[in-house]
């Protein structure tokens, strides 16, 4: 409906527009007036339940012969990994591609290659997924292989050792990168070792994983009762459902969505700079932040607007100042992790070593500024809202992005009309809401400030700055005695 009607409107506009263009002289001094905002076209979908209890969502999209398939599992390594075996979820996901009872790893890889596709198995913090994209005619054949991987993995012991060795080398390599070091140290210092958000994969946790662990993890985790299957693209809903029922017939019932319960985070300490020495580093990686709210917070829309003004876009305050005006960086930003628990607020970027002190001063200035010291202008508020709401139509452009949009509704427990209501929710955010959430969540008195850089260059100037006390830590975030 909308598409045809919309095309006619544009065509009429175009014809009248051309006549006008031929006559008018061009005035470049003002931006052209944009036409009416295009109507938001949220794709339609059908929802049903499979015989084994898994939920199914199908959305047809026929402009290209493509299909995007995702099997999402609610819950991730934060729910399922034992602290002493961090990395088990990731290892199990990798082991799913190592062969089935009837296809060894190489035969599995060859079969998928001949179908022109790759199947990704990933388990993240709070969800896991088996996903692929394929040419529509190959969907049923690919689906059969995916079902085999899901139900009949063989988990060969030698594959476990190979994957373990690869991960151990990757851990060593991560210690050569300032950004990778910051990504390990920052969450550990914000949440502590007792909270899943603060736990890292280490040599010891990788060494502890056994094949029995993998077998047990797979059995407990991949259950239809906590699964959603999404299919988007050049399929017909009824046919897709029949094909999936058939392919997943051997996947036995059972399982339920996990309860997302996290331990309380210890009361935050007064703002502290944690300096990690990376001798000779040309740049320092900054990670500045604290615990944030879960995705379910009623402050979500105000936070989105606030963060867009602060650090979500190129011309946001942080990047406009620290990159564009001062030239200290190639790019800085800020974000909230959201999720089911208190996902972190984090600001940062890579800063040229010699300007680490000056950059920290600017970060602090902007974090305080958004809390009210620097008033939010009308233009900042309207640009942030426009950027957020007018981005939405473009997110339904590809089969993969439509699939992601469907999965998000399910994993975050959002209402069916979430996308239709989004613009109104953003529009309702007032300036005082933005300042209120900034004061609540950008807690400048209790920041973890991780700086990974060349200590010999940056420590003296950072001390002279006096923004916060400095604690020297090693590359895992453990205190180093002076």
């Amino acid at each position: 409906m909308t598409r045809r009607a919309l095309s006619v409107v544009i065509l009429l506009f175009a014809l009248t527009g051309i006549a006008a263009l031929a006559q008018a002289t061009l005035d470049r001094s003002k931006p052209p007036t944009p036409g009416p905002t295009p109507m938001l076209r949220v794709p339609a979908w059908t929802r049903s339940t499979l015989g084994n209890g898994a939920e199914l969502v199908v959305s047809e999209k026929h402009d290209l012969p493509l299909v995007s398939f995702t099997l999402t599992i609610s819950g991730g390594y934060n729910q399922a990994d034992p602290a002493a075996r961090r990395g088990l979820a990731d290892m199990t996901a990798a082991m799913m591609s190592e062969g089935t009872k009837t296809r060894d790893g190489e035969a599995l890889a060859a079969a998928l290659q001949l179908l022109g596709t790759t199947v990704a198995v990933r388990i993240g913090g709070e969800t896991g997924a088996i996903a692929f994209e394929c040419i529509a005619s190959r969907f049923p054949a690919t689906l059969d292989i995916v079902a085999d991987m899901l139900v009949n993995p063989s988990f060969p012991p030698e594959a476990l050792e190979r994957l373990r060795a690869q991960r151990l080398v990757a851990l060593v390599q991560a210690r050569d990168q300032t950004g990778a070091i910051a990504s390990r140290v920052f969450p550990r210092l914000v949440y502590g070792d007792a909270h899943p958000y603060g736990q890292n994969i280490t040599e010891a946790t990788l060494e502890a994983i056994t094949r029995d662990d993998v077998v047990a993890f797979h059995r407990a985790y991949f259950r239809p009762g906590q699964a959603l299957v999404t299919v988007v693209g050049d399929v017909h809903a009824a046919g897709a459902k029949a094909a999936i029922e058939k392919a997943l017939a051997a996947w036995p019932r059972g399982g339920e969505k996990p309860v997302f319960q996290y331990p309380a985070v210890a009361a935050p300490r007064a703002s502290t700079i944690y300096l990690v020495d990376k001798p000779g580093a040309a740049q320092s990686t900054f990670a500045i932040g604290t615990t944030g709210p879960p995705r379910s917070t009623s402050d979500y829309y105000a936070l989105q607007v606030m963060n867009t003004i602060l650090g979500g876009m190129f011309q946001s305050r942080l990047n406009a100042n620290i990159r564009e005006e001062k030239g200290y960086s190639y790019g800085v930003s800020s974000s909230f992790a959201y999720g089911k628990g208190p996902g972190a607020f984090r600001a940062g970027g890579d800063i040229v070593s010699a300007k680490s002190d000056a950059a920290l001063m600017e970060f602090m200035k902007e974090l305080k500024g958004i809390r009210g010291e620097r008033p939010i202008t009308d233009e900042e508020l309207s640009t942030a809202k426009d950027a957020l709401t007018q981005r939405l139509p473009g997110t339904f452009a590809s089969v993969r992005s439509v699939n992601t949009a469907m999965v998000t509704l399910w994993t975050q427990g959002l209402p069916d009309d979430y996308y239709q209501q989004y613009a109104a929710r953003i529009a309702a955010v007032r300036r005082e809401d933005v300042v209120r959430v900034a004061r609540q969540y950008v807690d400048v008195d209790h920041l973890v400030i991780v700086i990974v850089g060349d200590r010999a260059t940056v420590e003296g100037p950072l001390r002279a700055l006096g923004v916060a006390p400095i604690a020297i830590t090693d590359i895992e975030g453990n205190p180093v005695r002076p």
Binding site: L15, I18, P34, P38, Q113, L114, Q315, R323, Y330, S398
Partner: protein, 448 residues
């Protein structure tokens, strides 16, 4: 206007588009696609780092940054506000051969995007001053630090370019340039560069997405039609290189795990051998069925990762092999193991099933690349710019699909020869960890 129609041929790569040129030489390609109410505008200039002179490296890329600092009628910041600030995005990229700028915007902002792009093509110098240049220079130096100097193995690309091509060859320096040259770039350099290369006769405007072609044609003519064509450009000669002997280097980096990189010179986009080289790449490393990955990572477990790549720039190309060892495995052993496998492949050629596996995924790759309006507009602009055919992606697809076992055997023997560069990246102070350390020369960085 000269219209040229280009009907599509492949069964699934059906991307409707049309191309034409304005009287001032500006080439235009339009690809309507109403799947979502967005539009992508790509402006492609035929200038890259190969157009720089020695001592002025990094200039084309520095200039790309200058193009975002505002122009005659567009104050600084407005470009971002009218793209990202209305739910879209923008960026620019510089390669050895071309510089590309793009915006994706809601479809009602098409005219705005053309206003922005035409203003910087026509009026950039009206507002350019030395302060703007200096600010971007600092940012580019930070980009270099972030991408290369502060990145483990980050200098490999630069070392390979410096070594594979003879001194003075336009591909012998890295796109980002040297710190010293970036410092030396002057306001006059910027202005001369702009006047020569940023003219309609050297540019392509490619639009893909939700628009009506008649309206887009009128807008392109209105915003770009009055600019003068620009002077004739002498393109630098950047011939493919051949090497008759091996060059061995060892580079000490702030890394804990060594890495072996072997690079062979190949061909540019003008040679059809690139298609067989692409298939050779796909059967050599990647999935566990590929020759090197299967042998080194799976069967013999000497390596944690193996990667290969075939890249053809406009005039010359490179086939690269990168191997990360398992702890304790000497790079010398890895090199000889890899050479043994490649020798077998050269002697026997690939199997029919290997060719089939390598090409089976191509259709999905091509369709994925063309699914987004941005991917479409960039692909069409590249084809028009390099092959004078916006639809060359279809020819590329067909030629890749037509590659035979004999083709792959032939190019493997022709290009994977002893005339190659072997680079060992080792931890500082550990040159003995290099592959054949006694035959490898330490790579000394000139001050970048």
């Amino acid at each position: 206007m000269v219209a040229q129609s280009a009907p599509s041929r492949s069964s699934t790569l059906r991307i409707p588009f049309e191309g034409y040129a304005l009287p001032n030489g500006l080439r235009v390609v339009l690809a309507p696609n109403h799947a979502s109410p967005t539009v992508a505008v790509t402006v492609w200039y035929h200038v890259g780092s190969k157009n720089e002179a020695a001592g002025k490296t990094g200039f084309a890329h520095l200039f790309e940054h200058v193009m975002f600092t505002g122009s005659g009628h567009v104050p600084y910041g407005v470009h971002d506000r009218l793209t990202e600030g209305v739910g879209g995005s923008n960026n620019g990229t510089t390669s050895r051969d071309r510089t590309t700028y793009y915006e994706t915007v809601p479809s009602n902002y098409l005219e705005t995007a053309l206003w922005l792009e035409s203003d910087r093509m026509g009026f950039l110098l009206d507002t350019l001053d030395v302060q703007k240049l200096n600010a971007q220079r600092d940012i580019v130096k930070n980009e270099r630090r972030q991408r290369m100097d502060n990145q483990p193995y980050g200098l490999v690309g630069e070392i390979i370019s410096n070594t594979l091509y003879p001194a003075g060859h336009p591909y012998s320096w890295d796109v980002i340039g040297s710190m010293a040259d970036l410092t030396a770039a002057s306001e006059t350099d910027v202005k001369d560069f702009f006047r020569l290369y940023y003219a309609p006769g050297n540019a392509i405007v490619s639009i893909a997405g939700d628009f009506q072609p008649q309206q887009a044609k009128a807008l392109v003519a209105r915003y770009f039609g009055a600019f003068p064509r620009g002077a004739a450009i002498v393109r630098p000669a950047a011939p493919p290189v051949t090497r008759d002997r091996e060059t061995r280097l060892v580079y000490e980096d702030r890394v804990q795990v060594p890495r072996l990189v072997i690079v062979w010179p190949t061909v540019g986009r003008g040679s059809d051998d690139r298609f067989a080289l692409g298939v050779l790449d796909a059967i050599t490393a990647g999935p566990r069925t590929t020759r090197l990955t299967k042998a080194l990572v799976y069967d013999r477990q000497l390596a944690t990762t193996v990667g290969t790549s075939q890249d053809s720039d406009e005039n010359a190309g490179e086939w690269r092999l990168t191997i990360t060892p398992r702890p304790g495995v000497p790079l010398t052993d890895l090199e000889s193991a890899a050479d043994g496998i490649l020798d077998t492949l050269k002697a026997e050629g690939p199997t029919a099933e290997e060719i089939q596996r390598a090409t089976a995924g191509l259709e999905l790759d091509f369709v994925n690349d063309l699914e987004s309006n941005l991917g479409r507009s960039m692909r069409l602009a590249d084809g028009l710019g390099y092959e004078n055919d916006a639809g060359s992606f279809q020819t590329e697809y067909q030629r890749m699909m037509a590659v035979t076992q004999a083709d792959v055997k032939r190019v493997a023997n022709k290009y994977l020869t002893k005339g190659r560069v072997v680079l060992s990246v080792v931890p500082i102070g550990k040159v003995e960890m290099a592959a054949k350390p006694s035959e490898s020369t330490p790579y000394r960085r000139t001050e970048q």
